[in-house]
């Protein structure tokens, strides 16, 4: 794998003004995406995964949203400094996004073909005739049978899985360098999900696209990603390679996440549930956001946010347990991955 950075987030902070006060949805996120890799972002609902990806796409509406701080470097250029016009040129062309719900992502009154051609005509000097040809090619690429006929059909004539293929075709139309997929298979059945995951892997191999995959399904992560970032309470609390996160996790929330899932290939008597609920981001905790639910929390955790500790060239964890002054704690056996039965 190349280590060339294509996207880098530095100290990204995003807030929303709401009736109940400021929601600090993303609270200082650092993240790197390398060329040609798939980076998965996982974490609790409301932890800031979608807001982070919308910020990359320049899709945070203001008001109520506001990017308070940070940089989003795409091939070294800070997208946050771009004008509206400049960002529109990047969006859909260099960076594109697949949204979670394939039913709402498509315009019900517009032919499938026209929806694919829209981006092509906007971003590339291309005739209508050529755009249509390319649309048919793209439908074939994502595995729609009879693409030359189906290009003239409407979304309601497609099944859920086929619609998600079309959404992927639209996202890929201009050969983007980065594809952000926000829960691309959550609304789909397992057998259709398997088809879509296969398709995404295939496309990455063929076109070298870098992918940010947002999901809560650790199975999907294990299937597709090379690196993983774990979010909690608006922060990334651990990052590492796929194997590091699954086999050598260091953060108690990552332990909890792996423990609370039953294993298909092993017997689990009792799931280890994480007690409590995630923090209210209107009053974000001063210290570690996981402290109220963490079985290992110490006094220092309540008031001070832990710094990142690197345990390898690729793994970083924000937890006081990794401080040399902290007691040594072994991960619970319940994380249960790594071949044991």
């Amino acid at each position: 794998m190349t280590v060339e950075k294509i996207l880098e987030l530095k100290n990204l902070q995003v807030s929303f003004e709401t009736f109940g006060g400021e929601v600090q949805a993303v609270r200082g996120v650092d993240l790197t995406l390398h060329k040609g890799e798939t980076l998965a972002i996982v974490g609790e609902s409301g932890s800031g995964k979608s807001v982070t990806s919308k910020a990359i796409m320049g899709l945070i509406e203001s008001p109520p949203g506001r990017i308070k701080n940070g940089e989003i470097l795409f091939e070294g250029n800070n997208l946050l400094k771009y004008s509206k016009h400049q960002i529109q040129k990047v969006r859909g062309k260099d960076i594109s996004m697949i949204f979670q719900d394939p039913m709402t992502a498509l315009n019900p009154t517009m032919k499938i073909g026209s929806q694919i051609m829209e981006g092509l005509i906007k971003h590339q000097e291309i005739s209508k005739h050529d755009a249509r040809k390319r649309a048919i090619e793209l439908l074939a690429l994502v595995g729609i049978p009879n693409p030359d006929k189906r290009v003239d059909e409407f979304p309601h004539q497609f099944s859920g899985g086929m619609r998600q293929r079309v959404v992927i075709a639209i996202a890929l139309a201009c050969n983007p360098k980065i594809l952000i997929a926000d829960e691309p298979t959550t609304a789909l059945d397992v057998t259709i999900q398997a088809q879509i995951l296969d398709l995404m892997r295939d496309i990455q191999e063929k076109m070298g696209t870098s992918i940010i995959l947002i999901t809560h399904d650790l199975g999907v992560v294990a299937n597709l990603a090379q690196r993983v970032a774990v979010m909690y309470g608006g922060k990334i609390i651990e990052t590492g390679t796929l194997d590091e996160i699954f086999y050598k996790p260091k953060h108690p929330y990552t332990w909890g996440l792996l423990s609370s899932m039953p294993k298909l290939h092993a017997k689990t008597d009792k799931l280890l549930a994480i007690p409590g609920t995630p923090p209210d981001l209107r009053k974000p905790p001063k210290g570690c956001p996981f402290a109220p639910r963490c079985p290992y929390a110490m006094d220092v955790c309540i008031d001070h946010m832990p710094q990142y500790t690197a345990s390898s060239g690729s793994q970083k964890t924000a937890c006081w347990l990794l401080d040399e002054r902290a007691p040594k704690v072994d991960p619970p056996s319940t994380i249960g991955v790594g071949g044991e039965a």
């Binding site: 609790e44 199975g219 609370s260 298909l264 290939h265 009792k270 609920t277």
Partner: protein
């Protein structure tokens, strides 16, 4: 755990059709047969629209069956029933719903939500007894007394699902149909709710029909698992048998399609990727419902509907590949 061999529920050839237009009949459930034993958890899995919820809703008589019999604790509850009889059934059989947001009335306090069944069935002799029962339910599901006067919107998803469980338990039922009780919850919260359901089962000897599409969770919680496809039951066996030794081609592909949260397994696993989509239940394929996607489909599969039979001990399947008569005929 005691031996689970006493049948609490017997479902025979259950059908539920919906008239969706003047001409079209949608066969949501098209002849399913299974038993549920006292004290067990029977999991029901299958893809969206295969008829899981309709099966549950027909058993509990939210829908009237189109055909078939349902026998609950020796009593026929699948035929014509008066309102009163249905009410009586709801004392013994309760349902937990998927959406903890939509299934609780936002204008009612938690105590009134939980007490609804107590009131309907006159289970409390005085207001004090009523409240005592509510408090006990709240404690049972891991909430506390202070929560009684609050409204649903003040609770998180996991807490709301606990309220839904407390409501179902308040009438002291024997049988609970849980329709995707954890699908709307975060992974870490799912484990809380599943653990709670298991504890309650052990303590109170409850019987569950647990409907879900998360196969790992179903395997974890169920003693036996039924796999549905397009209104039919494809396979039913002990949870270990279904997962370690699936007989039906659909179960096999379903299992091979689930991504497993273990990178090593994901890298080395062989997958059967099914082509195409589930056909419409308005105009389902002739013969075997799965034949349009089945990698092993034979001529007979289009002509004859496979028999639902016990191919191995306690292992039921509907597939010609496992039908002795057809196997011997072919040889």
């Amino acid at each position: 755990m005691a031996a689970k061999n006493e049948k609490l529920l017997q479902v025979k050839n259950l059908k539920k059709y919906f008239n969706v237009s003047r001409k079209d009949v949608l066969k949501a459930v098209d002849g399913v047969t299974f038993d549920v034993y006292k004290g067990e958890t029977l999991g029901l899995v299958g893809e969206s629209g295969c008829g899981k919820s309709t099966t549950g809703r027909t058993i509990i008589r939210l829908y009237d069956p189109t055909d078939g019999t349902v026998i609950f604790d020796g009593q026929d509850v699948g035929g014509k029933m008066s309102r009163n009889e249905k009410k009586h059934l709801s004392k013994r059989m309760q349902m937990i719903f998927q959406d903890p947001y939509a299934s609780l009335n936002p204008r009612m306090t938690v105590k009134d939500i939980i007490a609804e069944g107590i009131d309907i069935h006159h289970l409390a002799k005085s207001p004090k007894e009523r409240m005592d029962r509510v408090y006990k339910m709240l404690e049972t599901v891991g909430l506390n007394r202070e929560h009684a006067n609050r409204y649903p919107h003040e609770f998180s998803g996991g807490q709301r699902q606990r309220i839904g469980i407390a409501r179902a338990l308040a009438v002291d039922p024997d049988f609970i149909i849980a329709d995707e009780p954890i699908s709307a919850l975060d992974v870490s919260i799912q484990a809380q709710v599943v653990n709670l359901m298991q504890e309650l089962q052990e303590k109170q000897g409850l019987t569950y029909l647990f409907i879900a599409h998360d196969l790992s969770m179903v395997k974890h919680i169920s003693d036996r698992v039924g796999v549905m496809y397009l209104g039919n039951m494809a396979e039913l066996a002990s949870s270990d048998d279904v997962y370690d030794h699936p007989l039906h081609p659909y179960t096999q592909s379903l299992l091979s399609a689930i991504p497993v949260a273990d990178p090593e397994i994901e890298r080395t696993r062989e997958r059967i990727i099914l082509e195409g989509d589930v056909p419409s239940p308005i105009d389902p394929p002739s013969g075997c419902r799965f034949r349009t996607r089945c990698p092993f489909a034979m001529d007979i599969c289009a002509k004859v509907r496979p028999k639902w039979h016990e191919a191995e001990k306690n292992h039921w399947v509907a597939c010609h590949l496992h039908d002795e008569e057809i196997k011997t005929e072919k040889v």
